[in-house]
């Protein structure tokens, strides 16, 4: 193992540049450890995000050697074979400073895709009995563990090419709600995901599915939305 690592970090906003730092190598070092070392011991003006540092919150997602991933779960040994590392902010999102991006567009698209639960009951009514092995519940459960880390959004080329596209995460959440018996979103939500920026823009590149740290499958969820919206359209429940 080399004693030192040469790390390029993105500094500045959109019109920034990569700057190189020398960081001591340690065993079991993660990329987050490297970024933290730079901020604590070399340049305190470096901006970056993290929270749990153990791979459950999704806050530390960055672009590592061209690939969006959770830095706390990325071992340096796995990605810096030649002793060099390049770390930048997540792509497809506005850069605030250095390694932090503005997640607002990501969440706004979540709202536009109607990834919001629409309740049908009040506390005064009986609780809905949903069996976990109910087919619709199975579909929802397979897609529900999204923690909005933004890796899929950063990886998606269709997001890159099409400003309006909602992206894998927002559409996957819409899919879970389409399969939720308690939800009243109905054809309004299907209409929302069938319009410009909706599910039909997906070309099934599957970068999202390959890179999701929660092992979710947005490509399959979006395919499900394509089927539901097509059926609704042919039945006249939603418009073109």
């Amino acid at each position: 193992m080399l004693a030192e690592l040469s790390v390029s970090l993105w500094r500045g906003a959109k019109d920034g540049r990569y700057e190189t730092y020398c960081v001591p190598r340690r065993e079991s070092q993660t990329v987050l450890d490297v970024v933290t070392f730079v901020q604590r011991h070399i340049d305190p003006t470096l901006s970056y995000r993290f929270a749990c540092r153990v791979g459950v919150c999704g806050s530390c997602a960055m672009t590592v050697n061209g690939k969006p991933r959770w830095t706390c779960r990325t071992h340096v040994a796995k990605v810096a074979g030649s002793g060099r590392l390049e770390i930048g902010p997540l792509e497809n999102l506005p850069v605030i400073k250095d390694l932090t991006t503005d997640m607002q567009p990501f969440f706004e698209k979540w709202q536009q895709a109607q990834g919001v639960f629409a309740p049908t009951k009040t506390r005064h009514e009986e609780i809905e009995q949903i069996r976990p092995d109910n087919p619709a519940r199975r579909l929802a459960d397979a897609a529900i563990e999204c923690i909005n880390c933004g890796v899929c959004y950063a990886a998606c080329d269709t997001v890159r090419w099409n400003q309006d596209y909602f992206g894998p995460a927002a559409l996957t959440r819409a899919w879970t709600l389409v399969n939720d018996e308690r939800d009243a979103g109905g054809s309004a939500r299907l209409q929302a995901v069938a319009g410009s920026g909706g599910c039909h823009s997906c070309h099934s590149h599957q970068s999202c599915q390959e890179l999701c740290p929660q092992a979710l499958n947005p490509t399959a969820a979006i395919a499900g939305l394509k089927r539901r919206t097509t059926a609704a359209y042919l039945k006249g429940e939603i418009k073109a």
Binding site: S8, G66, E86, H203, S204, H205, S207, E210, R227
Partner: protein, 116 residues
């Protein structure tokens, strides 16, 4: 810049989608030319015949082989999309994509073997 986005942009399924798009564009450009060539028949059989004999050249035959490849791979790529969108999710898609490319190459090769 080092090791730029190789992992997800170089993956078999991403390449499959890109090949599908590029082959579609190539076929879209080819199609008007194809129609113009066929319409030579309006001027009489002799015109079409001289065009067909022009296509006997080896270089043109290679180009035709490439077209067969593009058409086949675009068809198979389209089947990939139709399968993902209408059938249940299946694993092993990367292997299928590679097999599709191989089949297209084989069919194009058979075409060339038969015309030479």
């Amino acid at each position: 810049m080092i090791a730029r986005g190789k992992m997800h942009r170089g993956s078999a399924l991403w390449i499959a989608a890109m090949v599908h798009r590029l082959s579609g564009l190539a076929l879209a450009i080819f199609l008007p030319l194809h129609f113009l060539a066929l319409a030579l028949a309006i001027k009489g059989e002799a015109k079409l015949e001289s065009f067909l004999r022009w296509t006997d050249q080896p270089l043109v035959k290679f180009a035709e082989g490439a077209l067969v490849f593009l058409l086949t791979i675009h068809l198979l790529g389209g089947l990939r999309v139709l399968a993902i969108e209408n059938l249940d999710w299946r694993d092993g898609q990367k292997q299928l994509a590679t097999i599709a490319a191989a089949i297209s190459a084989i069919i194009a090769f058979i075409f060339l073997a038969r015309v030479f």
